[in-house]
């Protein structure tokens, strides 16, 4: 009875979404204020309906209701409680429900925070979000209903995929979805602007925190995924350029471009059409990601098991939503967006340059991901494009971007002189070179030029950031704690850029200085890597809640001194008969030591993989810093300054559309 109620909630939500998408839209175009007024209540009702549906599905998992097909496929009575909850979004249908719930959640947030916008504009934004919701709700109701019954019900379920039975995998999808779905807000905003035919600096100021919030979630979501892959998959890898990983990376790259382009639109009124296009494209890539995961078009470890029928539906959704928006862009773009003036050498231009380079980087990843498909479709053979390609080509595209980042964050708005830049930047340049040399010496081992270049570029970012802070504080009475009075957007920017540099350092050092060993070890044997000794003490077996485990015991020593015990496991999950590796990791700020069990060999020995991974944590710590920087920047008071508030009041009073 109750799952049917959930189904009913979904249908109701679809009807409400239809009203939400159509009525305020017409109201905004025609000027009917009571139609416009329907935007907020419909959006909020939709949220509560979807929340109810989600709670009902969760309830089905908690009570082990195996008469619901989705629960039967993804849960089991032996599954621990935490994973029974995360199983709600563990497979296709449930994750879609999470998607629409989060979409309605973002829309709800828009209804709360929209005082800064004229009602007409706000209604347009909410309508567009409603339209997107219609697309996904229809997809669910027609092809992927989580509430379908399984008759007759089974006694016990198929269990959650063991790969997903891990804490990291509980939070990774929701956070990533918050990012993916959040890009729809900027998208809706861009569409609203196109429909209205104009976009002001004021409006750009409003959207900026939303774009940043989305970006923060994507940053964290991707970092979590990478960190999870590292400790869970057993061979110390943290990024595979898998099609679905790329599908999350591309909106992140474009989202970064969007934030930076918005900064210029907001401050100087320039690049409006580019900003709008970026907002459309970021959401397009988010939809593309949804398509790639669920259609079976590309082989991927992330792909949900699904069929081409669903693929056609999502492709149609993608085609309609993005195709429609790009038609609108082609039609309205030329007439609307003029604005801004600036010299050829100015901060605007550097930001535009980097925003374009990020777009090129995105295009590069897209090219590599879809090229095999393109060749096969044209009958030109079947190739693979993997890490050897992406590592080389992507890094090549990023290098100019990183160089310009340093110059750009230092340059002046509107007009700057090449002489001044060269003169002032000589200091951070020398500092960067020195820091790189020191680091290369400290790292020891073989000197690789590529590593030096990578570290050098990262040091350049750090040096120019610190130098920029110094310049900003220059000439005040108490220079050092003036830092706390700097504008939050600036502070956020500095922290985020430093975070970016940390991630680069982590990537470069791990890629070039990791040591990997694969050896046959019997209890009593030991192996040496990077100055650390792994002593294989022994094995034991134990039974977990839904698995059987063989656990190895390794002692880690350095220079004879005991550091810690590592316990890698090899588990067999009963229900799906699937093996899993749990690695034993000794984490550290400057290095990780990593051991995992391979297969048992003859003579009581095992094949064991051991890794020395220097600076690998910097990759994710850098991402965390980026997210913090974004968070701080979101709350810049200038977005809510008295002047801004007054301007809003005037606009409202005069009923003039900005």
């Amino acid at each position: 009875m109750i799952p049917e109620l959930g189904h009913f909630m979904l249908s109701l939500a679809l009807s409400v979404a239809c009203v939400q998408a159509v009525v305020p839209l017409i109201g905004a175009i025609r000027g009917h204020s009571n139609w416009i007024a329907l935007a907020t209540p419909t959006a909020r009702i939709q949220f509560f309906l979807l929340l109810a549906a989600f709670i009902i599905l969760t309830h089905a998992f908690l009570t082990n209701d195996f008469s619901v097909a989705y629960v039967a496929q993804n849960s089991n009575t032996a599954l621990p409680l935490a994973y029974r909850l995360s199983a709600v979004w563990g497979a296709h249908e449930g994750s879609l429900l999470l998607w629409v719930l989060i979409l309605s959640g973002w829309t709800y947030a828009v209804t709360i925070f929209d005082e800064g916008l004229p009602p007409r504009f706000s209604a347009l934004v909410i309508s567009v979000l409603g339209a997107v919701s219609i697309g996904f709700l229809s997809f669910m109701l027609f092809t992927s209903n989580p509430f379908n019954r399984l008759i007759p019900a089974v006694a016990d379920g198929g269990d959650l995929n063991p790969l997903l039975q891990d804490p990291g995998l509980i939070i990774h999808p929701p956070i990533l979805y918050l990012g993916y779905v959040g890009s729809s807000v900027a998208f809706a905003f861009a569409i609203a602007a196109l429909i209205q035919g104009r976009i002001t600096a004021q409006a750009a100021r409003w959207i900026r925190p939303w774009a940043i919030a989305t970006w923060i979630f994507l940053t964290l979501g991707i970092a979590l995924g990478s960190w999870w892959a590292y400790y869970e998959l057993g061979w110390g890898g943290w990024w595979f350029w898998d099609p679905v990983e790329n599908a999350s990376f591309m909106p992140w790259l474009l989202g970064t471009a969007l934030i930076h382009s918005l900064a210029v639109t907001e401050k100087r009124g320039a690049f409006k059409n580019w900003t709008v296009l970026l907002a459309l494209a970021t959401f397009a890539l988010s939809l593309l990601g949804t398509f790639l995961v669920r259609s079976g078009v590309l082989t991927s470890v992330h792909a949900f098991a699904t069929d081409p029928g669903r693929g056609i539906f999502i492709l149609a959704l993608l085609g309609t939503v993005i195709g429609g928006s790009l038609i609108l862009y082609a039609w309205r773009g030329p007439s609307t967006f003029a604005g801004g003036n600036y010299e050829p050498i100015s901060r605007e231009v550097f930001l535009l340059l980097n925003s374009s380079l990020l777009a090129v980087a995105t295009a590069t990843v897209l090219l590599g991901t879809l090229y095999p498909l393109a060749l096969e479709a044209l009958g030109l053979g079947k190739i693979s494009v993997g890490p050897p390609y992406f590592n080389v080509v992507f890094s090549a595209v990023m290098l100019p971007l990183i160089a310009i980042l340093g110059i750009g964050q230092f340059s002046r708005w509107k007009s700057d002189s090449p002489q001044r830049l060269v003169q002032r930047l000589a200091y951070p340049f020398s500092a960067a070179v020195a820091a790189t040399a020191i680091m290369m010496i400290m790292l020891g081992g073989q000197k690789v030029i590529a590593a030096g270049v990578g570290i050098g570029f990262a040091m350049w970012v750090i040096a120019t950031t610190l130098f920029g802070i110094r310049e900003r504080c220059h000439g005040r009475r108490h220079p050092w704690f003036i830092i706390f009075n700097l504008p939050r957007a600036f502070v956020g920017q500095c922290i985020a850029h430093i975070g970016f540099a940390c991630t680069i350092i982590g990537v470069v050092v791990t890629s070039f200085y990791s040591i990997d060993e694969h050896q046959r070890l019997a209890p009593g044997d030991s192996a040496e890597i990077g100055g650390y000794e792994f002593l294989f003490v022994g094995l034991r077996t134990y039974t977990g809640p839904n698995y059987q485990s063989t656990e190895g015991n390794f002692e880690l020593r350095r220079d004879g001194r005991f550091i810690t015990t590592l316990k890698p496991e090899k588990r067999l999950y009963h229900v799906r008969n699937m093996p899993m590796t749990e690695a034993g990791i000794a984490p550290g700020f400057t290095r990780d030591l990593y051991v995992s069990l391979g297969e048992p060999l003859e003579g009581n020995a095992w094949s064991v993989r051991m890794h020395f991974k220097p600076f690998v944590r910097w990759i994710w710590l850098g991402a965390l810093l980026m997210a913090c920087g974004g968070f701080i920047a979101m709350f810049d008071t200038r977005l809510r300054s008295p002047k801004a508030v007054r301007t809003v009041a005037i606009i409202k009073a005069s009923n003039v559309d900005p």
Partner: protein, 175 residues
């Protein structure tokens, strides 16, 4: 004018993805089509002492079927192979891939033996040379020993009728 470019790019992208929905991303086409069968020297499954080589099979268009006793899908296509063998027009050569001799013989005993001869490829060397990656696989080889077609996965009656039989007729393998 430049505002239409994003739309143009998008249309190309969607077309590409639509075509992609009809393709199978995990299917690996064989580079051995129209190339001669790799040379080999491996024992016969039935008689360990006897070695089979390329020269034993040239002369008539035939099928080479890669199978194993541990392969579940092989059982699906087996009845079809039996029927084909019984009609007597096209010889089927078996390639027993990475199997134990006793298991293989027992399997043939239980399900029937449609093969004119069976090559016992315990180490999988010939399989590797043929680019085998997913048993069962079937090759169509002409009278000169050149590979003409590779079927990945079990043969169904559809595939037999629409692809294999026409090819065999073209090669002069059927009356």
């Amino acid at each position: 004018m430049r505002y239409v470019i994003p739309l143009g790019v998008f249309i190309v992208l969607v077309t590409l993805l639509a075509i992609g929905l009809r393709l199978d991303p995990s299917y690996v086409p064989s580079p051995l089509i129209d190339k001669p069968m790799p040379s080999f020297e491996l024992p016969d499954l039935a008689n360990e002492a006897e070695l089979l080589t390329n020269s034993d099979i040239i002369g008539k268009p035939h099928l080479l079927n890669v199978w194993a006793s541990w392969c579940a899908a092989c059982r699906t296509e087996h009845p079809l192979l039996m029927t084909l063998a019984q009609s007597g027009e096209t010889p089927i050569l078996g390639l027993n891939y990475k199997d134990a001799r006793d298991d293989a013989l027992a399997w043939l005993e239980r399900h029937g033996d449609p093969y004119a001869r069976t090559v016992f490829d315990h180490a999988g060397k010939l399989g590797l040379d043929l680019g085998v990656y997913g048993v069962p696989e079937t090759f169509l080889i002409d009278s000169e020993g050149v590979i003409r077609y590779k079927q990945i996965g079990p043969i169904t009656s559809d595939i037999l009728e629409s692809i294999i039989e026409p090819m065999l007729e073209g090669l002069g393998g059927k009356k």
